[in-house]
Amino acid sequence: MSRIGVFVCHCGLNIAKTVRVSELAEFARTLPDVVVAEDYKFMCSTPGQELIQNDIRKHNLDRVIVAACSPLMHERTFRKVIENAGLNQYLLSIVNVREQDSWVTEDEDVATTKAKALINGAVFRARLLQPLVSRFIDVNPDVMVVGGGIAGIQAALELADTGKKVYLVERSPTIGGHMAQFDKTFPTLDCSACILTPKMDAVLQSSNIELLTYCEVEEVKGFVGNFDIKIRQKARYVDHDKCNACLACTEKCPGRGVSEWDEGLVKRKAIYIPFPQAVPQKPVIDRENCTFFKKGKCRLCEKVCEQEAIDFEQKDTFREVKVGAVILATGYDLMDTKPLIQYGYGKLPGVHHALELERLFNSAGPTSGKVVMRDGKTEPQSIAILHCIGSRDKNNHEYCSRVCCMYSLKFAHLLKEKTHGDVYQLYIDMRAPGKGYEEFYNRLVEEDVKFIRGKAARVTDKTDNPDHAGKLIVEVEDTLTSQFVTIPVDMVVLSPAMKPRQDAKDMARLFNLSTDKYGFFMERHPKLAPLSTMTDGVFIAGACQSPKDIPDSVSQGTGAAAEALTIVVKDKMELEAATAIVNSAACCGCQNCVRVCPYGAPMFNYEKNVSEINEALCKGCGLCAASCPASAIITRHFTNDQVMAEMEGLMEF
């Protein structure tokens, strides 16, 4: 016989308006095993919590049911409440009478009837609840950060500062990420390189950071506290241990590849460092464009290298790294705007995308910081910046890319400064919700940038107007005056959507993350756990979670570092207790559990002919239990009999 207490929350009027709460408590009192039932205005408030705790003591309760908001809201709160009153936290059942009852109907009778059924279900289930005890495992103190952009760099540095060993994995030959391509940053207009390169250098200097550039994550095994990660070191064809970064090789190399850093505006050598401030300052050979790899002769770099560091025989190598936590900061890709034929990118030379313009601004860029047309000399006298290209667009990416308004303003400012031309902003809505952002917007308005509220419909070079000949014509409605406007300009800048990395899904699969409907990594909870993922011990930071600007990416990097630290700072860690176990007496040895488990938690013991579950790997999804024909697997807290009892209670009335 259980001693159950039922506590009905009014949630102000949120519940009490539609559910007759006192009738509910009255009903609960008639149920077998319920020894006390009370209703109260705010059960989650301190007096409400005390009410529960007092009743636990007074009535010697061994099960507690709280009828209130969704368990996703306050289950943790009430678990703490009963634990502090001496009850095991798993002896709690939450009845959702708000989100799934009082808020979704206006009919009092209907709402109250449903609430009664739900409470009855909870009583049936509560009788069978079992106290569960958390387990502890050893924790590996090291952390891996994947992605060497600003978010990843920040996370790595923070962690290194606390004395933790960090592996920073970056797939390109240098860290720095997209931020390294920028000239200035909004809204403060400070030099991107000036704030980024010291951090990059700090990474290099830190004795706690092991920098793994030109590397990719190949395989992930293990679980929170104890990940085993296999890293592929892609062949650089340059022995970095021998290389003294003299870069003589890059001067002599006849091979030419497209400069990723300069967004393809110029070529780079086949043996190269991506940009002068790259970290590490050691080159790699781009096999695709290397004359030796293509034609079988050349080896000029080898000849000039005094260190004999060139190694054409180099192969990809693998290494295993053990860490306790992982931070993914893999960033974003810029949307390819070529398919949006109405804007002419790729066809009309005057049309640029945002990152190309960033490179034009940059003094280390292909034009040494001069804004010129693709001919390399003509300075544009009029420029239109087109917002929301592929963002907020059902046909492309439905979400707002969040940073474009602000960098478009930055562009406008820099264009004004560098070209003194006319600058148009074609926007749908100006979004400036950040510290100093609105002020920046105001500043640009004052700088006489022409704001046209309307999304550009077309860019063309065809015109009947002889005054416009040779110009690009941007067609747009100025929605504020309802007039169709054609703007002749020299240059058009597209602000394309930020989208998930092309291989984000693969990465998600490696780490067992889920992705949202756009393909960004899914956080555990949008508000309360924005840096955590469904995989314990794997955190996310920066634009891999959703489009973000630098301040937010940096904050997230720092936050993720702190999150990772909460795990690796401890020697041992507590694991979720609601996991599955095998009743070996009932196990028929069919191995269905082994076959289905996404986490590899069940293992087959060939000696005993039964399955065994490694609880450290188990996430408690219950797939194995439903696949077990002999009912031998017990998914704790969601056991077959608990679920069946709850169903029975729900269906009684």
């Binding site: 999804c621 439903a626 729900l650």
Partner: protein, 139 residues
């Protein structure tokens, strides 16, 4: 009085249950005939649960999970889909009206879809009348 069906809902914690919560947070109104059991994943659903629900007198059973490919446990609902598909065939061949059992993928952001599915399913079940085929009769 109109027949008000009793429907058992089984919803996964991460998507459908959260989606149902969202329907509440956005104050959508829909019929209250579904009483939901929360499980961690749709793959937790043992097909016998469905049979049992009908035996307990459920007039309909509505199962909700994450969209295939979006399972919080990676692949859980891909297995669940097969399990539930076979369950559906079993019910149908045993003589249960197939419309009494429905599986829907409803994500955490699809509060509206949840409300719509519940409304549609409730109406479907209502049209079928009380379920007596599996229901245990207490004499």
């Amino acid at each position: 009085m109109d027949f008000e069906p009793k429907i058992l809902g089984i919803a996964c914690n991460w998507c459908t249950y959260t989606g149902a919560d969202l329907a509440g947070t956005t104050r959508l109104k829909y019929p209250q005939n579904v009483r939901t059991v929360r499980v961690m994943c749709s793959s937790r659903i043992n097909p016998s649960f469905i049979i049992r629900a009908f035996q307990l007198g459920a007039d309909g059973v509505l199962v909700g999970g994450c969209h295939p490919g979006d399972c919080h446990y990676g692949t859980g609902n891909l297995y669940a889909r097969r399990k539930l598909a076979v369950t559906k065939k079993i019910l149908e061949f045993a003589g249960m009206e197939p419309k009494r059992f429905r599986v829907e993928w409803i994500s955490a952001s699809e509060g509206k879809k949840y409300a719509e599915v519940v409304e549609e399913f409730t109406n479907d079940v209502k049209a079928l009348g009380p379920q007596t085929k599996f229901k245990i009769r207490k004499d």
